[in-house]
Point group: C2
Chain length 365, copies 2
């Protein structure tokens, strides 16, 4: 026993040196205005609450449907694809992880842009995948050629992009999927807030995976539900590597009820888009650079009272807002992000409070 | 585009040839007596239902606590360990998967006994881990020497065993954990139905991981909650490889309420043990060989009316029960299991129906 090594050294070497993903700060006490994790400011559909309350009962003793068959059918139906093309995950993060695990390793590189969803490099780190990072330019135009030329066999592409909110046209995405020698994952976490979705491309390509989440537009971040739409052969691969009961009974119930209430979805998504567009304008009126957003978030480059922008300015506002109990997200360490703040679109009260705090900050500067 | 290969060929080669885990059959229509997946025949605590109904509401729009901190504390407390030693998973299957992923690969072998939980080889297949399978003998005595001598760096050991229900002493387990050069996972899915738990060993060994589930004793298979108790260094490794929001809000709520109602747990576990012991005796009175069970399942070797046992006999009863809408589990293909049926312990009505069907089968033979 005495000669046994420290227990963490039994882990694979790349796991030992790994750093865990840092999710946005989740305060435990109330009183915070949370505009840092792109949650929906509105509650889920009342029909979801009803369905959940009905489902709470003795049947929780039973395992869930292992394939989430009814929910696969429902998400396929609203997207106009066959149910054999749908897959359900414990959040779309679960699906991104399964894709990384099935399709990448040290020889099969995974590619993604910078900036994009900061989870991809973490998933590649866990898998010990080779990685290719393709930088956007400041314009955030789709870097089509470097993506097509890169050595990756699986590509993760957030569309609309996070953290910028910038959207992409299906014409460009079609060129990407058609020309890429491997799997293209279009991560559509924010697609319900966008002008277009890439779903229409599914009928033309077997190497396209579209991932979606119930965490943003459906207001169900707490339930952990995501889905993928893709070729049945990819669904088959995902079914091999997933946990056999990856989605619980109540999550399946919530997902079904949420999908069934499309008018509620439209109403809250419409409201969020309105708030977003209004607020983008408000920040631009301050003279700030703000990307056009097709998501429920705003990526804005603050200017201080003297008209300066930069990492210090962005950080100063971030800290000031925190002192006002308003949480937004700041991404340090890269010129494309470190002069910006990412602000999730809240409800009117939250956005008003944010505006007032920004005014206060401008006066204090 | 035309020269692109079939899409599943982009997957890693070992994934392409993988076969998915087959969970026990989950009938979609009602009317079945389900004694095939070791679910609890009794509903979860009324306090769990209450807590869940209270938690269904606007807060589902928010992400869950990423670390499930309150539930870590609760499971640590009932087991008398520090909360830094606890980890929560989306079912204990999630944790077994994370352990496989962190601690095994083609060079770091995973070991397990035969028979044991049939998920381990599947998880190793996904990970492409080297494997060592140590067979039990018919006596099902702990094969201590081969386990200690094997080349694995992580060992999965189901205690009490599934599918046999056989329990093991902490004296033997202590010798195993003390002498093993690697991580020993004691999978205590059924420990609440057993005479002993290995928790007392945790204070002596940093290479011990105990996994538990809410799916059996707590009647919450539908909620997907499991936990691990282990050294904080192992918790740290698991935190690196898990999904950042692996356990949803309602699962955390259900787990907390279930743990808080220990008197309900004791009552239903007591009832199940009573039914189990009664039924083991009943089957032995038929002249069948039945292992002593410390789980909520019975592993019994049926004899037909002429006194014969064997794979055909076990299969014949399995099929007959199915025709009577009673589901049990049959494990073909190995001499240690293929003459047996695994019967989950149901409530009195279910067990009576099973008895009557067995009598019918004996008369039909």
């Amino acid at each position: 026993m005495s000669e046994r090594k420290p227990v963490s050294e039994y882990a694979q070497p790349h796991i030992q040196t790994l750093r865990a993903y840092t999710p946005g700060f989740q305060p435990k006490e109330s009183g915070w205005i949370k505009l840092n994790t792109n949650e929906n400011p509105y509650p889920p559909s009342p029909k979801v609450e009803e369905a959940l309350k009905d489902a709470v009962g003795p049947s929780l003793r039973l395992y869930p449907d292992p394939t989430s068959a009814a929910l696969r059918e429902a998400v396929a139906r609203i997207n106009g694809v066959d149910s054999s093309c749908a897959f359900i995950g414990n959040g779309s993060d679960d699906i991104l992880n399964l894709l990384t695990r099935a399709f990448s390793d040290s020889a099969r590189f995974a590619g993604y842009t910078f900036p994009s969803y900061s989870l991809y490099p973490v998933l590649c780190g866990i898998q010990n995948s080779g990685i290719v990072e393709i930088p956007f330019g400041r314009s955030m135009v789709l870097p089509l050629e470097p993506l097509l030329d890169c050595d990756a066999r699986i590509l993760f592409f957030t569309s609309p992009n996070a953290p910028t909110g910038v959207g992409f046209s299906n014409d460009d995405l079609r060129t990407l999927v058609a020309g890429f020698d491997g799997i293209v994952v279009i991560d559509e976490a924010y697609a319900d807030f966008a002008k277009e979705t890439a779903v229409e491309l599914l009928s033309d390509f077997d190497n396209l995976v579209i991932t979606r989440t119930f965490s943003k537009s459906y207001s169900l971040a707490g339930m952990r539900i995501g889905y993928a739409l893709t070729h049945p052969d990819v669904v088959e691969v995902l079914d091999k590597v997933r946990d056999s009961y990856n989605v619980g009974r109540l999550a399946q119930v919530a997902g079904l009820a949420a999908v069934a209430d499309q008018s509620y979805l439209k109403a809250i998504v419409g409201k969020i888009k309105q708030t977003r567009d209004h607020y983008v304008q408000e920040l631009r009126d301050l003279g700030w650079f703000v990307y056009d957003s097709q998501a429920n978030l705003i990526f804005a480059e603050p200017k201080d009272a003297k008209g300066y922008s930069g990492p210090e300015v962005a950080q100063s506002l971030f800290e000031f807002l925190k002192s006002e109990k308003i949480l937004v997200r700041y991404f340090a360490g890269h010129a494309l992000t470190d002069t910006f703040l990412r602000i999730s679109v809240g409800d009117d009260d939250q956005m008003l409070a944010l505006s007032e705090s920004i005014q206060k900050w401008l006066k204090n500067e």
